[in-house]
Symmetry: C2
Subunit: 308 residues, 2 copies
């Protein structure tokens, strides 16, 4: 029953200095005293698309639900403040499922000092659908947008790409601390997190910034998972293909002025590698240059929700 | 396709002074300059539970989706600021459906000066599930909570109750302006909106405020819809039963000190009636007194999501 879950959550959700009224009222009340600009993002994840509940510990699903949203805050270089959760639960086993989803979220929320402010819990005859909405704080260094890349800016990426479906899409670490640190110490012009795919998300920056980009494919950090997946599937897709199009890496793509990019690459200020994988161009469109210097058109690929 | 819908929304969603970055980035950026405390609420509505899509114009569904959330802001006496929308769309006809849902929301958003900041749109094999998250501003008169009622406070309600399933559950007006005006001009101690049912939502105030309440049943404003529904169904439920338990009236229940309640009832400051329907008590629990003065226990009834 809904009332049992609410009673459980009111015991279970930790107090937080931001939370003036927590779960159990019509809405949560948050202290926003020194927040001049805030960032709001929502993600809705569904069974069968973003996870397969019958094969996956629901705590991992809960963790992914929150982590995917935190990754959007990371993409904006915003500090996590608070979140609300909305669940459409299958009736049978819904209570246990909801408890497990929250158990998956809470350690991550604590890690990022996020106030879990409550939410809305429903049951229905459909499969699990769950949305998380997060509010973050724009720091004094401003938000990181998609539309600020300029020709000659370098394309830097965190981590490595491809094959996340082997498990990383559930257990990734959102790059919140990384982007806050980079945005504080360096001049970043634009950024996005790779949820749909390295090439398609780079295309989003390019479209918003009215420029183009050339990827140096030999420099793209390919994850071991991409190699394993290429081997397992043996369908003609190379590890590079997986790196360019698989998505759900939840790494960052950044546009950085050339000198600043050199400095970042030399400093390597993060616990994870930062790699220079190409540059933005005046000429629109996406291009790739292979290690023999051959330049070809790159058709962006990755995940897109299809409906008509 | 998702990209078509995003392109449509970027043309269609109006600019708003709060919105520093609107749809099309990883998150929206909102100006929060003078907001000291904000209110956050999320509601998730699903096909087959909160509406029946095959029988209902999707614009009415979209309107309800936003109106139900605005009603939660009303319950907190908060001014609407901004909202984000997350949709899980059936693949077939999803684009047209999404456009219609937004068309239903936008006139209401404009009415309440709400910035629609974007959201997340997904497709899947399930039926429509849709969440809206709203951010509101707590005014200088503070938020209206559920836990402030004191013994001897009067129970005031807006409007009339029962039978909303005949259509009002889709087309109601959220009581945002009403609660802001009342909270500004009068001393209100607690409040809630009636989404689940008059008696069950009154029980929520009573539980949170550690008190009891007596409803004077002869004074409860019964909606014509409750009479029509009792007649149509002829299942032994009286119009009063419908008023007490149907839910989705989206009217307000307020706890008001006795003298202040007299003043409000005499002033009738709203375009809709305000009615005194009883009082809060020291003795816990819910009671009803009928027009002959007979006092009996009132078992709260209304909607609760069931899952186990």
């Amino acid at each position: 029953m809904e009332s049992e879950l609410i009673a459980h959550l009111r015991r279970r959700l930790p107090a937080h200095p931001l939370l003036r009224v927590g779960p159990g009222d019509d809405a949560a009340v948050l202290a926003m005293g020194d927040v001049d600009e805030c960032v709001v993002t929502v993600d809705l994840l569904t069974d069968g698309v973003d996870f397969e509940l019958r094969k996956t510990d629901p705590r991992r699903v809960g963790r992914k639900l929150l982590a995917a949203n935190l990754s959007d805050l990371a993409a904006m270089a915003a500090e996590p403040l608070a979140g609300v959760v909305a669940l459409a639960l299958p009736r049978d086993g819904g209570l246990e499922l909801a408890v497990a989803l929250y158990e998956g979220m809470l350690p991550l929320a604590e890690d990022y000092n996020l106030a879990v402010a409550g939410g809305d819990t429903n049951s229905w005859d459909g499969p699990l659908a769950a949305s998380v909405t997060l509010i973050g704080k724009v720091t004094e260094h401003g938000p990181l947008r998609r539309d600020g890349a300029r020709p000659e800016d370098r394309i830097l990426v965190t981590g490595a790409f491809g094959g996340s479906i082997l498990g990383r899409h559930l257990d990734f670490e959102p790059r919140v601390r990384e982007t806050l640190l980079l945005n504080e110490k360096y001049e970043l012009r634009a950024g996005i997190d790779v949820s749909d795919g390295l090439s398609i998300d780079l295309a989003h920056i390019v479209e918003e910034s009215n420029c183009g980009a050339v990827l140096e494919t030999a420099n793209i950090p390919i994850h071991d998972d991409a190699r394993r997946l290429a081997e397992q599937r043996a369908d003609g897709s190379s590890p590079l293909d997986h790196a360019l199009g698989d998505g759900e890496d939840f790494e960052l793509i950044l546009a950085v002025p050339p000198k600043e990019a050199e400095r970042i690459i030399a400093d390597q200020p993060l616990d994870i590698p930062l790699t220079d994988v190409g540059r933005f161009t005046t000429e629109p469109g996406l291009w790739q240059i292979d290690d023999h210097g051959a330049r070809t058109k790159l058709v962006p690929r990755g995940w897109e929700h299809r409906f008509d």
